[in-house]
Amino acid sequence: MSRTSMVGDSSSWSTALVKISPYTFSAIGIAIAIGVSVLGAAWGIYITGSSLIGAAIKAPRITSKNLISVIFCEAVAIYGVIVAIILQTKLESVPSSQIYAPESLRAGYAIFASGIIVGFANLVCGLCVGIIGSSCALSDAQNSSLFVKILVIEIFGSALGLFGVIVGIIMSAQATWPAKSV
């Protein structure tokens, strides 16, 4: 089955897209999974960290409890690493005649999509947890009974990253490359 009979003859964009190797898409997906997740985690950590340091000058008791916010942000980066490792185990080499077969394309797109899902979900999750962590540190410094209540908000926020990881892993589970046939 040749690929030109599947794709509409008229559009040159769709021809161009289909001619990009699925391995390119997979590699970009894996890069985004880890790169953008780490961006989100780092962003969240600096937002929390700068407020925490300043607030701890007047109220040193808050430092140990508020490190939880930093840990939640760090978890986001760990999700990114885990998913990137899972995705790269899904890469298989196929013979060159099969590279542009529909199943190969599907596998490539699935890995790409999984990477985007995880990367961007972790980006916003890291941001969210970081901003709440900053407010948590400042509120705890004023009134220590507020800490546990704001921590509940942070827990809900960090669930967003988990949603992304779950969907990403499900997506990548169907990234099956065509079996090597003669």
């Binding site: 937002i47 700068s50 407020s51 300043g54 901003i131 400042l138």
Partner: protein, 351 residues
């Protein structure tokens, strides 16, 4: 973009905002004020204050305390905190922090010029200046004879230079001109500060606009009340009002023609936020107006702390501290003169 400051504010301002919020937690509470109001002598006050954050500043003072010493040491604490924040700040926060002190600079300039007019000694005047408003060449202000010299010799190198374009005349300085000069400078300063905050945008612009508008309106009312019965013409009065605020422009038109306090009250009662202030005063009474304005100001300043990630907290903190120092000065004067019944006339509780 309003609403997204949280993503980038902490890069440069996160540490300082957390520090200023820590300082705000150290402001005296109503319980502290109650203790202080019940003191019999200034040494009792020193003992109560040593349990608060003012402790380190007052503990080395020798025993016969004066009220001016207490106020001086408390102001010193504010200046230390301000300088610490200023040296840690980057642009544009450092410019913002400097803007907060220009008001004190204007007051110092007017103090020295007035004192020189009344033949006081320069050193004595320098000691009375507010430390936040000092600049290098301030002592040479005593030499100037009229405004043009004042500008050319001293003020052209200070941050106040751009505010002088409207008030350079060759007349000699006398009491009336100096008051007009003070109010013209302050008007230019408030407008400049307002424009700067608008340029910063976001939550800072919104919160500072509200605080500065209240300041402009309060000054308009004070100018009106103080110039009733003087030789200040209506046009001159109108020139002293700022170009922003709730009262601009229609309220200013009404205030410019007021000739007594009841007319002022009538003009102000059309604006709901000020109507609640004026309704606390009975007819013909203006002594409580200052306190009513201070209370309203403190309420708005405390609201600035409700939001995170903007510069308004720095301005609000400096103003609240100044209010606290005013409170301490009033309480210590009442205690020193044995007039404890009048203590609550002028103390504005912050919390």
């Amino acid at each position: 973009m309003y609403g997204f400051e949280a993503m980038t504010f902490n890069i440069h301002g996160g540490y300082l905002e957390a520090i200023v919020r820590g300082h705000r937690a150290g402001l005296l509470t109503a319980a502290d004020y109650n203790n202080l109001c019940q003191c019999e002598t200034l040494d009792d006050m020193k003992m109560h204050l040593s349990a608060t954050e003012y402790g380190p500043y007052l503990q080395n003072e020798p025993s016969p305390l004066h009220t001016t010493t207490i106020v001086e040491k408390c102001t010193l604490k504010l200046v230390d905190e301000y300088k610490h924040m200023l040296c840690q700040a980057t642009e544009p926060l450092s410019t913002f922090l400097e803007y907060i002190t220009y008001g004190h600079m204007i007051d110092n300039v007017v103090l020295i010029v007035t004192g020189t007019l009344h033949e006081r000694d320069v050193q004595e005047l320098l000691e009375k200046c507010h430390p936040l408003g000092m600049f290098d060449s301030i002592a040479t202000l005593a030499v100037a004879q009229n405004m043009r010299e004042l500008y050319r010799l001293v003020l052209v190198d200070t941050p106040l230079a751009p505010y002088f374009s409207e008030c350079i005349t060759s007349e000699d300085l006398d009491d009336m001109n100096i008051e007009i000069m003070r109010n013209t400078l302050y008007k230019a300063y408030l407008e400049d500060f307002y424009k700067f905050c608008q340029k910063l945008g976001g939550a800072t612009a919104e919160i500072m606009s509200d605080l500065l508008a209240f300041e402009a309106d309060r000054r308009a009312v004070n100018i009106t009340i103080n110039s009733i019965g003087t030789e200040l013409t209506r046009d001159d009065r109108r020139k002293l009002y700022s170009n922003f605020g709730l009262l601009y422009p229609y309220g200013h038109e009404e205030l410019a023609v007021c000739e007594d306090i009841d007319q002022v009250r009538g003009a102000m009662e059309k604006y709901p936020p000020y109507q609640s202030i004026f309704s606390k005063l009975s007819y013909g009474e203006s002594q409580m107006l200052d306190k009513a304005f201070y209370e309203e100001e403190v309420k708005r300043l405390c609201l600035a702390f409700e939001q995170q990630f903007h510069y308004g907290v720095f301005f609000a903190y400096m103003r609240l501290r100044e209010q606290e120092i005013r409170n301490l000065m009033w309480i210590s004067e009442c205690v020193a003169q044995n007039q404890k019944s009048r203590v609550h006339d002028s103390v504005v509780f912050i919390f």
